[in-house]
Symmetry: C2
Subunit: 200 residues, 2 copies
């Protein structure tokens, strides 16, 4: 782009966003310059503050503005239950469901030897230390039902083999509102194996 | 999102980008915080500089860092030809094709009475003044082949009815590499009407 080094730099910088290529970056830059200058300035400020101000919570590893995040500071959440998730968006999904009221531990990834991600990289030692210190009764392993997620869950369970903590995994089954005809075989098998008496 | 006001503000600000909703903004924010802090800081700087530093060129109305853009300052581009386009991305597409070596005028929109966009809003008076001052020989109306683009082209042509300037419109026809079977009827009609002798 010959016409403006500032616009060039803006387009180039926008490409650091995930899923944004040259054309999209260009469209975003032109949109901001044409119709959204105040939005662009707000975004600039928010980015700068977040990039320097957001750290990881010392207790749950989630993003936080303070050394210990609000959720971990809350007395109400110290229920003796810790839910292990792979990412902050998993945590958000659970929070939005609104039923779970315990604590969290965010791995920020999963075990993946092929990418060089070992237990230390996702903070498993920190999790084990916390479980001891906080006297956790139940550990819910809510990693994703993928190969890596399952492997991570099993690894954590193995490391806690010698303790009396109840270790659980989220139920697999038919999604609420789903139709049997569209559910894949693995899920159906899980749903059959996990069947429950109708009248408990 | 309960866990960090800074992350909340970042997610909210990212939504000013076109085509970015809540989920995408969240994904972008987490990506930047997790893996792209330097990219995020670069983007913050680029945004802030572009939002305050980028203005409109006094000659062609395109985005520019200087009062008159580089392209308009270039002696080579004063060929007596001005190409009128709707947006900076149209200009870029023509520049990337690389064949045209004249000047430009960027309307930053098109006439659209229903949206309250009149001739003054897209700088048509400025264009007419420039045509007189610069002694333009040919005006290429390269607005889009849409209802609004055609109307804008015709409006400009009407306003120049009393001058001796050659006014042209880009050719419509079959795209190079296209297959006849997939070309729509309007385009084919245009292609037939605009047919040329094989051996000029």
């Amino acid at each position: 782009m010959a016409f403006s080094p500032l616009v060039d730099e803006l387009v180039e910088s926008l490409r650091c966003l995930p899923g944004v290529g040259q054309k999209t970056a260009q469209r975003m830059a032109f949109h901001l310059l044409e119709k959204g200058r105040s939005g662009g300035e707000r975004l600039s400020g928010a980015l700068s503050q977040a990039m320097t101000g957001v750290r990881r919570c010392e207790t749950c590893q989630n993003f936080s503005d303070t050394p210990v995040c609000e959720l971990c500071q809350s007395e109400e959440r110290r229920t003796g239950t810790v839910c292990v998730v792979e990412s902050p968006s998993d945590l958000l999904a659970i929070e939005q469901a609104g039923d779970y009221r315990g604590g969290y531990f965010v791995l920020m990834g999963h075990l993946s030897p092929i990418d060089g991600v070992g237990p230390a990289d996702i903070g498993i030692d920190r999790l084990l230390k916390r479980i001891k210190d906080e006297r956790v009764d139940e550990l819910i392993l809510a990693t994703n039902p993928t190969v890596e997620g399952e492997a991570t869950a099993h690894y954590i369970a193995d490391r806690l083999d010698d303790t009396a903590i109840l270790i659980t995994r989220l139920a697999h089954g038919i999604p609420v509102g789903g139709e049997l005809g569209y559910v894949d075989g693995f899920t159906l098998t899980h749903a059959f194996r996990g069947r429950k008496p109708l009248l408990d």
